[in-house]
Amino acid sequence: MNHIDPEDLAALAMGERESDAADEAHLAECDACAAELDELTRTVELGRASRGTELVAPPAEVWSRIHSELGLSGDVSPGAAVLAAEPARESVAEAATGAVPETAPEVAPALAPVRSLPGPRRPRFWIPLAAAALVVGLIGGVGAGVWWESARQAEAGSTVAEANLEPFPEWPGARGSAVVEQRADGTRQVVVDVDSVVDSGSPDAPLREVWLIRTDGTGLISIGFLDGTSGRFDIPSGIDLVQYALVDVSAEADNGDPAHSGDSIVRGELRVI
């Protein structure tokens, strides 16, 4: 069964395009797509309905009352364990375009209404007080002290580049995308999604390896093997993505040969966003 392309489903939910006869026929018989469309449509309705909803933080005394009602320790307070951290933003975007990244006001203090900010909240690190004393000087170190990066930063850093991955002739219908994310600590990862047609799932399917290739053809590096339809790969810190702008997924035999097989499935050029 040919499911509706996820981006097309999103476009249907947004009212960006009308469903055609083929969509309707599929939605009538595919519960998964119909349910997905219903949920996305509901999300869009909510999104539109949220216009003008401004978040208002409670006044500071509300925390004081909670603190005293629960008899919390004296030094526990919102923000006490917060260290504002300036991310090292040496992003592809700047390197390639000279664009200055947006900055935004810091999160409003608890007394002020939280207005729609024009840009991102700065990433912050949240460190428990007990641990903070231990890790002073270890900032940038891994684990131990980093207790709460801003929600998005841990899950996904700032998206700095994207590529649509297009099929080679031997792999018609294959397609994918690559998104480069940069975290507050400057490390970068690329998230590669490919269509299921690439991941045949059969036991004798080839291994699939992900590469960064220089646009001038003078070099390539392997960044890992792709399992399933989605993978997240670290990008070595010395790699300049302006030079290594091609993301390539190749079919590899399980023969121990570390070189590229020459059999690329999809490839695309990273675009700075």
Partner: protein
Amino acid sequence: MLFNTVKMPPGVDPDQAQPVRDDAGRSRRFRTDVPDTTTDEQTVADAFRAGDENALAEAYTRWSPLIHTLALRSLGDAHEAEDVTQKVFVSAWRSRGRYDPSRARLGGWLVGIARHCIADAHEARARRRRTEEAYAAEASTVVAADTADVAGVADRVMMADELERLEPIPQKVMKLAFYDDLTHAQIADTLGLPLGTVKSHIRRSLVRLRTRLEVNDEPYRS
């Protein structure tokens, strides 16, 4: 060597913003490329459940604007909204042992508690009104608690909160789509992005927003 001869797959215009249309016969699987719970939220949720007071402070920092705004919009009274905000975090802390991180994000659980507290506030209001009416020796008209749209308000406030937490570019894309009713092409023009990138942001953001708007409305009280 393949690399110096083939830069891009043949037939593909590298500047083409639009991906190639599907061939007939391809099959797709839905991707769940957006995790429901971020690692650090999980860390805070676990610490919260384990009784770490710092985690309560972090949860308050993260979610008190959402809870307070929900109460404010549902009750229309600043004083009552502050009381509800206080009650939500006090109740959540006292019943933290009943919070199951595997069933709900901490924020969703807190919103569920807030709904109960808001309903209680509406009922208390109605009781006061009935009492006043009884004193006034008037015919007692039972006033139903006005709780009909608390869930709707909660959804909208959570959505506004989550939109603010998107990365800057997806956030701009979604606000132009939701609030300014721009088409994908107009958004691409406005932000100077390829159309394909706009489409991809919209899909990813919708999926992310959808997964993050879940409320655990189970009773939290014994």
